[in-house]
């Protein structure tokens, strides 16, 4: 049966109090409680905000806790807010049949985070796509180049300040 909609828990303290036994929360706390910056439980989806320099280690601890399937990764541009970019990783657990979202906030000038391709080889194309369309670099990616746009394209089309009309 699909779960009934559970109440929203906003903020790190509320999630830690409301979901102390959640396997993902436990795994992150066991790894490094300071790396968890914020958390939110909304629409039955758990979002954990991770410090931007620790995403690879956090993902590794979740992978060890049974969140074995990297499903999706993308970015959101909150221009002109700061930090400008949000990266959203969706990771599924085949044993628990549950999905979590890891969220990383990245500053706008020369944005870069660690690649998770060493954990899941399948993140390769997703990170290339974010690099191509948002201009966020992934350190340690084996082949970071444009994937959807032509190689000589200027700019990153999914950024909010990318012009959508007029001549280039």
């Amino acid at each position: 049966m699909p779960e009934a909609l559970r109440p929203t828990l906003a903020g790190r303290a509320a999630v830690l109090e409301g979901l102390p036994d959640h396997p993902a929360v436990k795994a992150i706390l066991a790894w490094n409680a300071a790396g968890l910056e914020d958390a939110r439980f909304d629409f039955n989806e758990l979002t954990l905000t991770i410090a931007s320099d620790q995403i690879r280690a956090a993902a590794a601890s979740l992978q060890a806790a049974g969140y074995n399937f990297f499903e999706d990764m993308t970015a959101v541009d909150w221009f002109p807010a700061s930090p400008r970019f949000q990266l959203s990783y969706h990771i599924l657990s085949h044993s628990l049949m549950e999905r979590i979202r890891l969220r990383v906030l990245v500053h706008g000038d020369d944005p870069s985070v660690e690649s998770i391709t060493s954990l899941w080889a399948g993140a390769n194309f997703y990170e290339r796509e974010v690099f191509d369309l948002f201009g966020i670099r992934f350190e340690g990616h084996p082949n970071l180049r444009r994937i959807l746009m032509p190689d000589d394209w200027k700019g990153h089309p999914l950024r909010k300040d990318y012009p959508v009309e007029g001549y280039r």
């Binding site: 049966m1 909609l5 085949h94 899941w120 390769n124 997703y126 082949n143 994937i147 032509p150 000589d152």
Partner: protein, 404 residues
Amino acid sequence: MAEPAGMPTLEAAQGAKDQHMVVNMGPQHPATHGVLRLVLEIDGEIIVRIYPEIGYLHTGIEKTCEAKFYQQVVPLTDRINYLDPLSNNLCYALAVEKLLGLEIPSKAQWMRVLLAELSRLNSHLIWLGTHAMDIGALTVFLYTFREREEILRLFEAVAGQRMMTSYIRIGGLSMEPPLDFLDRVQAFIHTFPEKIDEYSNLLTGNPIFRNRLKGVGYLSAADAIALGVTGPPLRASGVDVDLRRDMPYSGYENFNFVVPVSTDCDCWARYEVRLVEMRESVKIIQQALDGMPEGAVKADAPKIVLPDREKMKTQMEALIHHFKIITEGFEVPAGEVYQGIEAGHGQTGYYVVSDGTAKPYRVHMRYPSFATLQALEVMGKGRMLADLVAVIGSIDIVLGEIDR
């Protein structure tokens, strides 16, 4: 176009005797199922490396979504995976309904399941026809397109369009299905299992088809999970995951069906898994027809769901709501949701971010072919060039959903 560092150029290998040859396959090659370009490094007939080059069909749909009202995104979703349009509509509608907290009437949910399964049959029929054609068995293509034509007629009856249906809308369905629609579906699935036997008779015992697929394109379960492979290729590698059963949506928990799994991990396993899936889809459609509830096909949310034509012409409120939805859209509470479904090719997911306005702040689509394409190198490496054609056919990619 300048080739990036790390990728061999077509010129680099020319003139040297001991070097590997680099050949270009696609983007117009008929066996690449669309505009997929593969740069292949080969040693004689043996594949050493595969570099997929994609983006030839990139139309910036994710960017376009940001300039549309929520309801205007529905027609865009059809165009992403044009072989499985109703699953795309369904996934997007479910994501936005989650943000809105809308209750969908049970008749609409059951109709959605029925249509999503018809759409899966449509997708699998095209896969089977083109896959067999790539291997050299042309007849099956003619057979599967005969049945696909009937499914497209059913889509046309219900939505007015054969391929770009946009029938599943936010809050339900666009309109009541025509009166004889369920009878026509019943007539179709009454004969369809015999048609599957027909395809199976042509292929399963065919020694050429068997030899071209058995043991070819090996993908271990660990590799499949690491590379993000979903859907029939994942289940053919022995991983028993199907979101319809494991994370049910749109009322799938009310249906009984078997999820086929094979541990052979090769192209033949993928063929067998999909054939069984087609039979199971027929069972789901039969259950949907038998238990189809009565009632409305749209949620009771006048500010979100367009009113019926008749009401719009006779009631003032309905006319106002219609005008407001068309000209201003409807506001969706701020938040972010991810909705995953099991589509014909694998796990489709829509990630919708709302900032509280009538237009989505960000829509991202996770489409299965994009991830599955990464597994091509693992499956094709060390095999003959001709085997690559069988592997591409067996993972069933659609370039529309890879490039978006």
